[in-house]
Subunit: 331 residues, 2 copies
DNA sequence: CTGTTAGCGCCTTCAT
DNA sequence: ATGAAGGCGCTAACAG
C-alpha cells in the first residue's frame, strides 16, 4: 500500500505538504503547481489514505455501532437500513451487532466504544440502566437509546427516542371499538414494548367501560400467537376482535382462528403491531401499526452524528417518534 | 482513556512489559508478581486496549465487511446473522453495507479494504468481473464471493461459494411433474440468480417432453409476481402449476390466482425459492426451496477468516452450498 | 525476567 | 509556500 511518504517521494515534496494538500488545507498557502504534483502522484500510485492511522491521530473513527437484538427479527432490517443511509450520507460507517436482548451482550458491545473502535452507539438496550450508561457518559461517548421512554425512572444523560406504544395500543383498540366490537381481547408476550401495549389496550377498554380479556404467553412469535389464541378460546373467551402485541403473534393468531373454523374478519377481527413485511403478504392482509422503522433509524443516526460533530450539545433529548394505524383486511 | 503508559506508571514497570503481559506473551518469562501488578493496575484504571493503535501496528483490523444488496430484502437477514455469529466466534467484527445491486456501489466498498478499514470482504457482487477483483487480489486482500458460479467465464483468483440454482429449479419442476402436473409455467424477474432458475426449469421441461411457458417481468417483487401471473393467464396459458423465481413473486402469484377465482393448490399449485420468513406464514403456506442462508453466511465467513489467518492458503475455492425443497401446502 | 528502541501512517504546530 | 519534528497507542525485536 502506498503511503503519504511514497507520494511525497514521487512528487519530490515533503510528506507534510502532501498531507496538507490531501486535507485541503491549502488556503492560498500551497501553490497550484504543488497541488497538481501531489494529485498526479496520488493517482499514479493509487494512494489511499489509511483510515486507521488517521483515526489514531485524530481519535475519530468515523464509525458508529448499531445495537439491535436480532437482525432476523423482521422489525429491524428497515430500521438498520435507515441508520445506514443516514450514516453513509454523513461519511460514517456502521457496525451492526446483535444482542439477542441479553443484558451481558448489551453491555459487551460498550467495548466497541471503549476500545476506540467506534465513535458512538445507537440502538436498543432493554436491560441497562443509568449506572450502566454511566461508563460511556463519563468518557463523553454519545449514545442514542431507542425504545420505550422510561420516564423519570430513567435519568441517564443520554438521548432517547421512543414510540408512544401506550397511545398506539389505545388507538388500535379504539379502532376496533369504533367498528362495533364490544368483546376485544388482547394477546401479548413479555418483554420489549409489549407491556406498554397491554397497558394502552387496558386504558381503551376501561374508558369504554368494556371488559378486559388478556392472554399472555412467553414467546412473542408466530407460535406464541397461535398458542395464546387457542388458550383464549379454551378458557371460554369468545372475542369478536383480537389485538396481538406484534405482527408475528397476529399471524399466529390468524392461523389459530382458521384452525378453529372461524373466518377473518367476519367472525373475528385481528390486528397487530410493527407492520413487518409479511403483514401485507398474508391473507387476509393484516391491519397493524406502522412504526416507521426506517425513518426512526434515520432520525436516531442523525441525532447521534450531530452529537458526534458537536452540532448538537444541549441536554439529553427525549424525543417521540410517530406511528400510524394501517388498515388492511383483517380488521 | 487510560493507556499502557498509564498502567506502566501505576505499576512501576515499563510500558513494554505491560504490553507483554496484556498479550499473554509471558511463557515463564514474566514473573507472577509482575503479572499481578499489571492486572491490578489495569483494573484500577479501567484500562482498555486501543484497538486502532493495535491495528495500525499489526495491520490487522479484526474486522470484515459483508457486502449485500439490501438488508431489507428478506433473503439476507439470516445470511447476515450467520456471518456475524461466525465472525464473532473468531473475534472479528462485521461491517454490513448495502449495494442496492449497483455496480458503482459494489466497487465503492472495495475502499473499505483499500483504506485498511477491514481485513477482508465477503458478499454479493453481481456486476464485477475479474479485472475489478484484480485490485484486491494484487494487494493480497481476501474476498469470498457469494452467488452464482460463473464457471470458466470467471477466473478471478478469489473464493466463490454458490448454490446450484439450475439443479434446484430442475428439482422443483420435477417435483411438480411427479405430482402429475403437465402444464407447468414459470414466472421470473431479471437479475441475481433468476436466469439460472429459468434454465433449470427449461431443462426439466425438456427432459419430460413438456411445453415451456415462461413469463418474465422486470421486478422480482410481490407486485412483479402478481403482474406476471396476470399476464400469463391473459396471454392464454392455463397452467396447473406455477414456479416463481423467488418467494416474494410466488406470494404475488398466489394473490393473483385468488384474484382470478382460482384456489391453491387445487386449481393451481405454486412454489417459490428462498424460504423467506413470510413463506411459512402465508396461506396456504408456500412450498419453496431452502437455501440455508444462515449456514451459507457461516461457511463464507469461516472461509474468509481461514484466509485471513493463513490456515487456508491453497488455490481459490469453488464451493457449492446445498439446498432443499421444503414442501408445504401450496404444491 | 524486564527495559530500550524503533516504527505502523497520519496530522499538526513551528520553523524556515 | 514548504519542510522538520513530534506523537497518537501499540507491538516486536533486541538488549541487558
Amino acid at each position: 500500500m502506498a503511503t503519504q511518504k511514497d507520494v511525497a517521494k514521487l512528487s519530490g515534496l515533503s510528506q507534510a505538504t502532501v498531507s496538507l494538500v490531501l486535507n485541503d488545507i491549502t488556503d492560498g498557502l500551497v501553490s497550484l503547481k504543488t497541488i497538481k504534483k501531489v494529485n498526479k502522484a496520488v493517482l499514479d500510485l493509487g494512494y489511499r489514505p489509511n483510515r486507521l492511522a488517521r483515526a489514531l491521530r485524530t481519535s475519530k473513527t468515523m464509525t458508529v455501532a448499531c445495537v439491535i437484538p436480532d437482525i432476523t427479527n423482521p422489525y429491524y432490517p428497515s430500521l438498520v437500513r435507515g441508520v445506514q443511509v443516514a450514516c453513509e450520507n454523513a461519511g460514517y460507517d456502521v457496525i451492526i451487532v446483535n444482542t439477542d436482548a441479553k443484558r451481558d451482550r448489551e453491555l459487551h458491545f460498550f467495548d466497541l466504544a471503549l476500545q476506540g473502535r467506534v465513535d458512538g452507539l445507537l440502538g436498543f438496550f432493554f436491560h441497562l440502566d443509568v449506572s450502566d450508561f454511566g461508563i460511556l457518559v463519563e468518557k463523553g461517548i454519545p449514545v442514542v437509546r431507542l425504545g420505550s421512554d422510561l420516564g423519570n425512572k430513567f435519568s441517564a444523560k443520554i438521548d432517547n427516542i421512543h414510540t408512544d406504544n401506550i397511545s398506539a395500543a389505545r388507538d388500535l383498540t379504539d379502532h376496533m371499538i369504533t367498528k362495533g366490537h364490544t368483546k376485544v381481547s388482547m394477546i401479548a408476550g413479555l418483554g420489549g414494548p409489549q407491556l406498554e401495549r397491554v397497558n394502552g389496550y387496558k386504558s381503551a377498554i376501561t374508558n369504554n367501560k368494556l371488559v378486559e380479556s388478556i392472554q399472555l404467553t412467553d414467546e412473542f412469535t408466530e407460535k406464541g400467537g397461535f398458542d395464546a389464541t387457542k388458550s383464549l378460546f379454551k378458557l371460554g373467551a369468545s372475542p369478536s376482535a383480537i389485538i396481538a402485541a406484534n405482527d408475528l403473534m397476529a399471524i399466529g393468531c390468524m392461523r389459530a382462528l382458521r384452525n378453529l373454523g372461524l373466518s377473518i374478519p367476519e367472525d373475528v377481527a385481528v390486528a397487530g403491531f410493527d407492520d413487518i413485511p409479511a403483514s401485507s403478504l398474508v391473507t387476509p392482509s393484516l391491519t397493524t401499526v406502522n412504526l416507521f422503522q426506517q425513518d426512526l433509524g434515520g432520525v436516531a443516526a442523525r441525532l447521534l452524528i450531530e452529537r458526534l460533530t458537536g452540532e448538537q450539545n444541549g441536554p439529553p433529548k427525549r424525543q417521540e417518534h410517530p406511528y400510524e394505524i394501517v388498515q388492511r383486511n383483517s380488521a
